[in-house]
């Protein structure tokens, strides 16, 4: 069992609130990813869980045990650091066994645990090398191995892939996913890369300015963001936001007139909106179709096109100067300055009120964290 319960957790540095009263439940075996922009408090939250920072107020429980003020090593957690923090003067074997040796564990038991971890992480042939003789990915695996030998209840990862190159990041992402299934462990993972969050997590926690914006599965966040911040943060390229005004709104739907020209009727519950209210219309690049200019009321000018093989990303400008990104087919060949039309898939479009809150679909009200 490894359930983590966080209640009203706060952290201040002098007079600045970094973590502003967080409530969070993490269940046994879950892979939870904390994601958010730089300075949102995700690393601080992880360090509070690890015990590397002192809690200002609130509680952290591991199963039924209050660990808020417990020393880091007594929490039964293991942390993998962004810089790996391997001991450069020790071999891989020594790095993995060192803490156990100092704890007075039995020599045979230590060797068994190290060999077991080395086998899981395919480090067997590297045990006698020092960290300087290892690649970035190998160092990362040693850092994970150092955690595995301790058999912790929860693994904590602080941006562990940020020092690796793009190809290695993909490979390590797959290895971490495999490791999670193999160890059946609870893992908490911090990243600013939402691709990592989407691909690894069972549950994503989106943080912003020291509080939680939304908690949910990756697809939940993608399809049902509770506000414009989450909508803009999740998804690559990011969602396009266009300003508009409500023409008509009721439980059955909302009619929106965009500042850049077109008018759309959305299948959303507009009962809390009023006619004339300012709103933000959101649509993802993959939910927009590029058409001929005369085939759509939504006319834009092509700016830059990026050909990525399977996809082409078109950066376009609306008539009022608003910019958005559209995902077209790999063979799409638009020219700079060309006028084209856009047809959004209205079933997948989003609407946000003046406060940035999502307008829910009928019968499915969006819940903030």
């Amino acid at each position: 069992m490894a359930d983590l319960t966080i209640r009203n957790l706060k952290k201040s540095f002098e007079d600045i609130d970094i973590i502003k009263g967080i409530d969070l439940d993490i269940k046994d075996h879950e892979f939870v990813v904390f994601v958010g922009p730089s300075g949102c408090g995700k690393s601080t939250l992880l360090r509070l869980i690890a015990g590397l920072e002192e809690v200002s107020s609130g509680t952290i429980h591991l199963d039924d045990r209050d660990i808020t003020d417990v020393a880091p090593a007594k929490r039964d957690l293991a942390m993998v650091f962004q810089t790996y923090a391997l001991y450069p003067h020790m071999t891989v074997r020594k790095n993995m066994s060192f803490a156990l040796e100092l704890a007075g564990a039995d020599k045979a038991e230590i060797n068994r645990k190290v060999d077991e971890a080395a086998q899981i992480l395919e480090l067997g042939h590297l045990l006698d090398r020092k960290p300087k003789a290892l690649s970035g990915g190998q160092r990362q695996r040693v850092a994970i191995g150092r955690s595995i030998v301790r058999h912790p209840k929860i693994f904590l990862f602080d941006e562990p892939l940020s020092n690796l190159d793009a190809a290695l990041r993909v490979q390590m992402r797959l290895e971490l996913a495999r490791l999670h299934h193999e160890l059946k462990a609870t893992m908490i993972y911090v990243t600013h890369d939402q691709v990592e969050a989407m691909t690894l997590a069972d549950k994503v926690v989106v943080l912003n300015g020291g509080h939680i914006e939304q908690v949910g599965s990756p697809l939940e966040l993608y399809h049902h963001p509770v506000n414009a911040f989450v909508a803009g943060f999740i998804g690559t390229p990011k969602m396009a936001f266009l300003k508009g005004k409500v023409e008509k709104a009721d439980r059955a739907g909302v009619t929106v007139k965009l500042d850049c020209g077109p008018e759309y009727q959305l299948p959303l519950d507009g009962s809390r909106l009023k006619a004339g209210e300012s709103v933000t219309f959101g649509m993802r690049p993959e939910h927009i179709e590029v058409t001929a200019a005369d085939a759509s009321p939504f006319k834009v000018t092509l700016d830059v096109t990026e050909h990525l093989g399977a996809d082409t990303f078109c950066y376009v400008k609306a008539q009022n100067g608003e910019t958005l990104t559209v995902r077209a087919g790999g063979d799409y060949a638009g020219r700079f300055g060309e006028q084209v039309g856009l047809t959004p898939d209205l079933a997948h479009c989003h609407l946000f009120d003046e406060k940035g809150r999502a307008v829910p679909k009928p019968g499915a009200p969006a819940k903030a964290a």
Partner: protein
């Protein structure tokens, strides 16, 4: 009139005596260095204490020692300390004064060496439940040592060249003996030149040793256990 012509016979006559006195100089340097390293390390650790009072006390002690001349400290220990019942021999006084004085300088060397170790190493040690003793002994100091070698070596060489100040409290080290021989024979050229050469040769050997130690020392540190 004092003669300024080199006398080989006199030089060969005084050299063994000067080399004998050199043992006193080296003894004071070696013991002073060991004490300075202990004091320096202690001050460096105290300056990293979580208690403000301890940090400030260590800092001001270090500043006080560094801001007063070594000779004043030597005189104080030799002539003033007995009034408080602390009677020390010239050698013990000299070693104590050199150790205290250079310990204050070395504390800064050690502190910067320790501060140079990546912050993650501390946090990993905390997370892995290493005691402060094991964190310093097995993780931090082995990595910090390489950065400390050059400056530590330079201070030890400087200390070696400061030992003549101990003659002020009647310690018969090399330079004091050369002065006595010069005044007895009215020949200063040979003893002082030889003393200068002995200092030069030993300093060059020490410098080469330090450079060699730095080169041979593994970049990533070494493991004690």
């Amino acid at each position: 009139m004092i003669e300024f012509q080199w006398d080989w016979d006199f030089a060969w006559e005084v050299l063994p005596l000067l080399l004998d006195a050199c043992k006193i100089t080296l003894q004071a340097t070696v013991l002073g260095s060991l004490l300075a390293i202990v004091i320096g390390l202690l001050l460096a650790l105290l300056r990293r204490s979580k208690w403000k009072a301890v940090r400030y006390s260590a800092y001001w002690w270090m500043e006080f020692v560094r801001s007063t001349p070594l000779l004043v400290q030597i005189y104080f220990l030799y002539y003033v300390a007995p009034e408080w019942g602390l009677n020390l021999s010239p050698m013990v006084t000299g070693v104590l004064a050199l150790g205290m004085h250079y310990g204050a300088y070395l504390s800064e060397v050690f502190r910067s060496g320790i501060d140079g170790v990546d912050k993650g190493q501390w946090e990993a040690s905390i997370a892995l439940n290493l005691s402060p003793y094991h964190t310093y002994r097995d993780v931090i100091l082995p990595q910090a040592l390489r950065a400390m070698i050059p400056a530590t070596g330079n201070y030890i060489i400087a200390m070696f060249k400061e030992t003549p100040q101990l003659s002020a409290i009647t310690l018969l080290e090399m330079l004091q003996l050369a002065k006595i021989m010069g005044s007895e024979n009215f020949r200063y050229l040979e003893p002082f030149t030889l003393v200068g050469l002995i200092y030069l040769v030993l300093s060059l050997i020490a410098s080469a040793g330090i450079r060699q130690a730095e080169r041979r020392f593994p970049k990533e540190g070494f493991t004690l256990s």
